[in-house]
């Protein structure tokens, strides 16, 4: 029995030693496990300052004045000597046309003009001949018709005289049947001759009318043949331009000095009826153009000043001249840029600071959290726990007065210059969570 008790005592002693050793080990393990699960946070003390809105965006520098260099359409381009951004002098060759093609087109144009002229001359000749003949026909028709009328009149008068004389001869005595028939015949003769006379008159009018019409037509045709065909003048001018190009050996030159902003024509292609290239006059000044969103545009007013940066050069106090709303809701900002040698067509960065807000406690946007439409911050608070003094995240409800891309001006929650606001953490943190500071 006593041996048994001794054995139990020894085993119990060992068990106790192992128990405490295990408790020591598990103490370390549990502490280590807890340190893994406790979120690490970065905090920041709210700064008492105002919130300003700065709009940053990229824009383009445009030349205020641009000219188009045009060339005759449908001519083959041999070489283009300029590129976008290149400065050129007045009279400098910007491109050369294919001389062979130009010569062919010039010759073709000349032939067209010649053929048109010949056709016009032939038309003129035909018209004058037709007019002359129409005159002759009129005269002929007039004389013939008059003779026919005169003849018909004579006959009608003769027949009337014969009837009258027969009637006079018969007097008022009774006539025989033979005399009666003779009288009727003379009367019918008289009527027929009268009708013939009237018909002759009508025929004369018709003949004269037809001849007059023919005369008018011939006159009109003669007039038309004197007028030149439409397009003849244009072709002539085109020919003159082609001949000028030929004289310049196919070279297209710049009418003024400036900078090439756009080259439309390409070597190997044909010229079109639009501009061959665009040239900007740097001396006319630059216009800065940039597009911003509606929200950013609400912070900008005409008259606000901005800073432009291009190639590490800064220009300050550039005034916003115009704000133009586009169809998609964005807003284009336009501003005159003076006193620079910047190149039209290049880009520049805009920095525009709006009016700052009132001063107050500001926190980084990463510190701001929201729930059910209201904002709150998580503030570090030391609490006494079983494991000693530990840090805990405590929710503080705030109202956001103003905010920009980086900061938020908040009010309420008892914030002070000593509050440590949690701005970042390595895992999710909620109200009441135990946390520890993170040294990055």
């Amino acid at each position: 029995m006593k041996e048994n008790h001794k054995k139990i005592r020894r085993m119990a002693a060992k068990a106790l030693a192992w128990f405490f050793a295990a408790m020591v080990g598990l103490t370390i393990v549990s502490r280590a496990a807890a340190s893994f699960t406790v979120p690490r946070v970065i905090t920041k003390i709210p700064e008492y300052q105002s919130v300003s809105h700065t709009v940053y965006c990229d824009g383009t520098l445009l030349a205020k004045r641009e000219m188009a260099i045009v060339a005759e359409a449908d001519l083959l381009i041999d070489t283009v000597f300029v590129s976008v951004g290149q400065r050129i002098e007045e009279g400098q060759t910007v491109a050369s046309l294919n001389l062979e093609d130009l010569s062919e087109k010039t010759e073709l144009l000349r032939e067209e003009i010649r053929a048109a002229e010949q056709e016009r001359e032939a038309q003129q000749t035909n018209s004058s001949v037709a007019l002359k003949r129409a005159k002759e026909d009129l005269e002929t028709a007039s004389s013939c018709a008059q003779r026919a009328v005169d003849r018909a009149k004579e006959e009608a008068e003769s027949a009337a005289a014969a009837y009258q004389s027969y009637q006079n001869m018969l007097g008022s005595r009774d006539v025989t049947e033979e005399e009666y028939r003779q009288s009727v015949a003379l009367l019918e003769e008289k009527k027929a001759k009268q009708e013939a006379y009237e018909q002759a008159q009508r025929d004369k009018e018709t003949a004269l009318r037809d001849a007059n019409r023919a005369m008018e037509d011939a006159t009109q045709s003669a007039k038309q043949s004197d007028v030149k065909q439409p397009g003849a003048g244009q072709r002539q001018k085109q020919l003159e331009r082609f001949e000028a190009l030929l004289a310049a050996k196919g070279n297209i030159t710049a009418p003024t000095a400036g900078m090439i902003t756009e080259v439309i024509g390409r070597a190997g292609q044909k010229t079109t009826d639009t501009a061959f290239c665009m040239i900007a006059d740097p001396g006319s000044g630059l216009l800065f153009s940039a597009q911003v969103s509606r929200e950013d545009a609400d912070l900008i007013e005409i008259g606000d000043t901005m800073t432009l940066t291009h190639n590490n050069q800064k220009v300050e106090d550039v005034t916003v001249g115009a704000l133009k709303t586009e169809s998609d809701g964005s807003v284009t900002i336009l501003a005159d840029v003076v006193g620079t040698d910047w190149t039209p067509g290049s880009s520049a960065k805009m920095e525009l600071s709006g009016k700052p807000s009132e001063r107050g406690f500001t926190v980084p946007l990463s510190a701001l959290r929201s729930q059910d439409g209201s904002y709150y911050l998580l503030v570090l608070q030391e609490t006494q726990t079983v494991l000693g003094t530990q840090k805990m995240a405590v929710r503080v409800d705030v109202t956001v007065q103003e905010k920009n891309d980086n900061l938020a001006l908040v009010e309420g929650g008892g914030l002070s210059g000593e509050s440590e606001v949690i701005i970042d953490s390595d895992r999710a943190v909620s109200n009441g969570s135990q946390v520890r500071l993170w040294e990055k």
Partner: protein, 278 residues
Amino acid sequence: MKRKLLLCSLCIPAAAAVLPLIFLITGSVTGNLEIKEYLSPIIFGGDGYAVWRFPVYPTFRNFVELLLDSPEFFQMFWNTQKITIGILAGQILFGVPAAWGLASYEFPGKKMIYRIYILLMMMPFQVTMLSEYLQLKSLSLLDTHWAVILPGMFATFTPFLIYRFFCDIPKELLEAARMDGAGELRIFFSIGLPIGSSGVIAALLLAFLTCQSMLEEPLTFIETKSRFPLSLYLPQIDLTQAGFAICASFVAALPAVILFLMGQDYLEQGIVAAGVKS
């Protein structure tokens, strides 16, 4: 037959005494859902009676959560051990010599002191609480472990128990040792302690059990949570985590069980000695 009948009749109260331990062991491996189902009348105030069964789906989840994911438990566990060791060391340093002095020597006022010991032993904590509080406050020991250790070091029960054992040492033996030229310290360390060791161990065992379950003194004198002993942690566990609480109780009870197995014989002697009238 009579013996068997006696044995059977004693088994029933023995089983009843062991039931809490069985409850502790089975509850520590029972999942939270099952415990909630068994104890819902207690936890949620439902109708009916709470029942207890062996777990249908035993799990060690509570142990994992307690031993790997609860650093607070270990903080308080070591606080308890610190207080316990401090008190036991103090009792060894002061209580044992005090008991030897009372048992071995005759001096004026010995009976008065002994009666004061008995009186103090009978007084509940609530009676001496205020005076102790004021004393500790004047010594700036409040909210420290010394506020619990110091009064415990000078507790009266331990010397009283050891005194009973020292009283059983024959006076003639001590006289003989004196006559042989042994000094008082020599007599104490060479005769008194070896003979009275069982009593000392028994007393210390009982003191250990008392320190492990100490509740009122830490609650009164300690404010900082990080200094709380385990006896104050267990009541803070939510009833909805009953499985976790039972598991924590089981682990907290282990040292006491092991020490009981170690000092079972001495404990029996100590309990007997405590019950014998002087």
